[in-house]
Amino acid sequence: MLYPTRPTVPVKGHLPVLLPMRSTGEPLPLTDRVFNLWTAALLFVACAVALVTPALAQQDGESQRSIIEILLEWTPTIGSGFAFNVLISICSMAVGTVLGVGLGILQVSPLRFVRQVSWAITQFFRNSPWLVLLFYCILLIPFQIEIFGTEVPFPGWIKAVLGLSLPVMAYMSEYVRGAIMSIPEGQWESAESLGFNRAQTMREIILPQTVKRILPSWMNLYAVLTMATPLVSIVGVNDVMALTRAALSAEGRVDLLIPMYLYILCWFFIYCYPISAFTRRLERKFSVQL
């Protein structure tokens, strides 16, 4: 496409022309994303660390195992802990999304009272620290509940799922509210003229259109939630952080602390990066074309 070029010769009496600002919406080619100066630097540093640290460690004594060896040895245990984190994140996301969509719809209810209450709930959970909500859930909910004579166990991780799903619910509620508000009024009016009632309009016309607007934020939220799951180790759930700490203390080696936590960071990065990369692609796909 041709854009008007700025006049190079000053013309007497001309007015300044505001040229359109263009951000480069074109995605970086995959090769540029994977192989650039930064990834090269990172790769170099990673190689250096991998090569130098064991060498340093071996200076202490020949009998000591190298750090890589120890990391590999603990990988199954830590991997199972990480799987637990993923499970917690998926469950919280599921619970939080279902509740959040409900709450979001209530936020645009025609009834003033319902709107006010759902707004208050959303704001409360959206602006509370995640860790505090987790503490409340872990310490206030009993470990088993008696329903009709049968005891239903309520282990710590389920409480953690509940605790984490509360903020997810609140964020989701805001996303849904915003998305519904962003659907042009005309959609409601045409639905009404076709004889749809409010519930039908919401279910069959408005909500399906919000999906593509919510999806990128929703996936972002999931990535953030996954990275927040190590919080559950503080409230006594045996997740990847708790297991790492146990591993560190079992090995009793001070030089292991940084590589071990770096290792965990890599696990999270490898899991979360594709999600955020995919989100960016979706965002571009759904971006509003004016």
């Binding site: 409900g102 209530l106 009993p142 006594g236 708790a242 700490r245 146990a246 560190l248 203390s249 602390l257």
Partner: protein, 269 residues
């Protein structure tokens, strides 16, 4: 949708109401065929994780023995100092065997089983180069410690160190070796076993007289202390001392001989 919210709120309320623990826990344990014991997983060699993901250590041996004597299965739940008593009073676990010191404040919350099964005191691990000699040398210095340890308060009040508390032992030892603090305030039993077994502590020492001897107790819920369950546990601990089981397990886990265990063995023999 509002019905959905109501249901959620109602079930949350129900959850808060029905948290009561029934009396006579011993019967319950036997009926379930399982005892749930809270143990440490970051306190080698008392309770630690092996690379296969299994728990091991002196206290895990004790928990096994309890389960065996009751004829039930054993479930181990890793706990830390800051959540073990809540877990017990909530009913998440039936028993604490997690290096827990016996003191007045805690006796109001959980049922401390007598006799005590172990004992430790307070000391510090410090580089020899710092040259600490007296407890009072700590005044105004940065001292690393562990969150939730009972002696943090006492030592701060008596000697006025600048306490830097961490969440776990790996973090503390790393801070100590990086020179972020002059000493690590901890349990003398742990320090002794580290100094004896690990080369990385070759330039470190335990410079002070061990202070504030503190007996460790296994704990049951407070209301069970005088019931059948508490009595049974007390009987088991007495038997551990009497038969020398504790001394034997102590040695098997590579811990330096404990004068306390010897003394108790003589007493109950």
């Amino acid at each position: 949708m509002s019905r959905y919210i109501t249901t959620t709120l109602a079930s949350a309320a129900l959850a808060l109401v029905c948290g009561q623990v029934q009396a006579d826990q011993l019967e319950d344990i036997k009926e379930d065929g399982e005892i749930v014991v809270g143990v440490k997983q970051d306190y080698k060699p008392w309770g630690y994780l092996t690379s296969d993901g299994e728990l091991a250590g002196l206290e895990i041996d004790l928990a096994r023995d309890v389960a065996e004597r009751l004829g039930v299965e054993l479930e181990l739940v890793p706990v830390v100092a800051s959540n073990r008593m809540q877990f017990l009073s909530q009913g998440r676990i039936d028993l604490i065997i997690a290096t827990m010191g016996d003191n007045e404040d805690r006796r109001e919350v959980v049922g401390m089983i007598q006799p005590n099964y172990y004992a430790g005191g307070t000391n510090v691990l410090a580089p020899k180069s710092v040259g600490l000699e007296e407890w009072s040398d700590l005044e105004g210095r940065d001292v690393c410690a562990l969150q939730g340890s009972y002696y943090n308060k006492r030592v701060t009040q008596l000697y006025g160190p600048n306490l830097v508390a961490f969440a776990g032992i790996p973090e503390v030892t790393s801070a100590l070796q990086n020179g972020n603090c002059v000493a690590f305030l901890y349990d003398n039993t742990w320090i002794e076993s580290q100094l004896a077994s690990d080369e990385q502590w070759a330039d470190y020492e335990m410079p002070f007289e061990t202070e504030d001897p503190q007996a460790w107790s296994i704990a049951v819920p407070l209301e069970e202390l005088d019931g059948a369950y508490g009595e049974k546990m007390s009987e088991i601990v007495t038997d551990w001392h009497k038969t020398g089981f504790l001394i034997e397990r102590n040695e098997a886990n590579g811990i330096a001989p404990s004068p306390f265990l010897q003394e108790m063995h003589e007493k109950f023999k």
